[in-house]
């Protein structure tokens, strides 16, 4: 019952978010950009390079593309959750919503679910599109097949990304209790993404300074993973604890 109330809220939020032109187009852009970039990064070198050179590049590109793809799937969550809470307050629809028998938990779950559902869809579809796109290009051009994502990449996409997503949304919930306007929430969300961007993209940074081994990639993946788990758990607890109708209404 509780979950289904949250689902009602989430679906309404998604429907409303998709009606906002800006949100709709940034969703479409980030959904398209992720796989396009992944395909370019992974299949691109394979079209021009061969032998050990290609092997080296591929060993960087495949996990890096996975991290980037994950990032691009998560960024829209900030926008959706900013609209779901601060946006509702800004257009003064939050007050009647808070007057319904929804419990704090149901409400926050609903507001979280809307971002999680959309971003998970972008993540899954983006990964599939990338896998198929890369395979198709390489097959058509008669090159050797590259499997995307590889194992660390799969870990990044299937395990780390959903937890990061959750952490990002709960941070957005905390922010929404402190800012008054949607654009302020957007601005703060940049900082949030940065927190996760560094460990997720750390392999790319270390790549520039020379070679990078699979073990380094795994290490950074685990750093991202633990960071995400900690942030997600802590922020969710804070978000639930701090969430307060009085404050949400009083911040006009």
């Amino acid at each position: 019952m509780a979950r289904s109330k949250s689902m009602i809220v989430a679906l309404a939020d998604i429907r409303m978010a998709l009606k906002l032109r800006m949100v709709k187009w940034s969703l479409v852009l980030s959904a398209a950009f992720g796989p396009l970039m992944t395909i370019a990064l992974v299949a691109g070198p394979a079209l021009v390079l061969t032998g050990p050179e290609l092997e080296l590049i591929t060993s960087f590109m495949v996990p890096m593309a996975a991290a980037l793809l994950a990032m691009f799937s998560i960024i829209p969550a900030t926008m959706i959750s900013a609209n779901a809470l601060v946006g509702e307050r800004e257009q003064s629809t939050l007050e009647p919503l808070l007057c319904t028998p929804l419990t704090d938990n149901e409400l926050l779950w609903g507001k979280t679910l809307s971002s999680v559902l959309i971003c998970s869809a972008i993540l899954v579809l983006g990964t599939l599109a990338s896998t198929i796109g890369i395979a198709a290009i390489l097959l058509v051009s008669g090159k050797q097949l590259i499997v995307f994502p590889d194992l660390p990449g799969l870990f990044m996409l299937a395990v780390v990304a959903p937890i990061v997503l959750f952490g990002v949304v709960s941070l957005m919930i905390i922010i929404s209790g402190r800012v008054q306007r949607v654009y302020e929430a957007y601005q703060m969300s940049g900082a949030i993404i940065m927190i996760f961007m560094i460990p997720m993209l750390a392999p790319i940074i270390s790549m520039e300074s020379g070679a990078i081994g699979t073990s380094a990639i795994w290490m950074w993946n685990f750093v991202s993973f633990f960071l995400a788990v900690i942030v997600a758990v802590v922020t969710w607890a804070i978000a639930i604890k701090q969430f307060n109708r009085d404050r949400m209404v009083s911040l006009v």
Partner: protein
């Protein structure tokens, strides 16, 4: 016992004491009117009652539930029309979708949702516009829609913050009739914030006047009306020289006060049964042409204005 029992309810915003130990009891099935000037604390009261705000002191019971201990239950049995209700709809959703969303959140059974929405929208004259986006409706129509939203789940208690403020006279009348019939038929209890004194006088069983978060006066509308009739005000409409009429009125010891309008005087008369005819005779004798001499309908407005101007500390 009352359906709404407000017990020393207080709310502070920083240094401002927006509500200061408010005590009100509203019996089941009655219509209660909360009156007061801007910033008096009316909306704060309804927001506390629907558990949006937490009291700084005191509490209230809505139905059988305490607003602090059982906020979810309180929200279940109340329907709320927030202040400026017309701005609280989702502009990109249709009228129907707005109501459908809230019907689900208020646990209206799925099979009843359509029927319920049709009934309410039809009553408010909005059924043909059910597929229009709420943002495209006029302010008054949005206010009607917001009222429908408050009534959707047949709540025991309705908290309406200025329900007719944006409505045209015909729609306002329909809403007043609806409130009265729901209170009577289904024993729904109404708590209404209003600036519209004649409306409050017509539909409310009891009222309270508050200012700066404190109750200045409370009672049943009948009691207040009696209080009003202790004053004996008369309206004398004349043609021609109003100044003569005024000076004649002022020359009598039994005339307590004289107010001059465009073509009429409002006089307060001591013991009118004894003295009215004397005044009339003297005026006629002086050549004042009296075309109307009538008892002033005592209105809540007079009482309200008097209390807020005179009673101030």
């Amino acid at each position: 016992m009352g359906e709404i029992v407000i017990d020393h309810l207080s709310k502070r915003f920083g240094k401002l004491e927006a509500l200061d130990h408010l005590d009100i009891v509203v019996p089941k099935g009655s219509v209660f009117g909360l009156l007061g000037p801007n910033g008096a604390g009316k909306s704060t009261t309804t927001r506390l009652l629907c558990t949006l705000l937490k009291p700084s002191f005191g509490t209230a019971q809505v139905g059988e539930f305490d607003i602090i201990e059982n906020p979810v239950k309180v929200r279940e049995i109340t329907g709320v029309l927030p202040e400026e209700g017309s701005h609280t709809l989702y502009p990109s959703m249709s009228a129907y979708q707005n109501l459908e969303y809230f019907a689900k959140l208020y646990d209206v059974p799925d099979e009843e949702i359509y029927e319920r929405i049709e009934e309410l929208l039809t009553f408010m004259g909005l059924w043909e516009r059910k597929d229009d986006k709420a943002g495209e409706l006029s302010t008054g129509n949005r206010q009607r829609l917001a009222l429908c939203r408050a009534l959707l789940h047949k709540p025991e208690v309705l908290l309406l913050d200025e329900p007719t403020s944006a409505l045209d006279p015909v729609a306002a009348k329909r809403v007043r009739e609806l409130i009265l019939s729901l209170a009577k038929k289904y024993k729904q209890t109404f708590f209404i914030n209003s600036h519209n004194l004649s409306e409050v006088q017509r539909i409310c069983d009891r009222i309270a006047i508050i200012d700066k978060g404190r109750i200045l006066l409370t009672g049943t509308t009948a009691e207040l009306r009696e209080q009003l009739h202790a004053k004996q005000e008369y309206m004398i409409r004349v043609t021609g020289d109003i100044e003569t009429a005024k000076s004649i009125a002022e020359s009598h010891h039994f005339v307590e006060s004289v107010k001059v309008g465009v073509d009429s005087l409002i006089v307060t008369i001591d013991d009118p049964f004894e003295n009215n005819s004397q005044l009339m005779k003297d005026m006629l004798a002086a050549g004042v042409n009296i075309i109307e001499f009538a008892e002033e309908e005592a209105s809540l407005e007079d009482l309200y204005l008097e209390i807020l101007s005179g009673g101030g500390d």
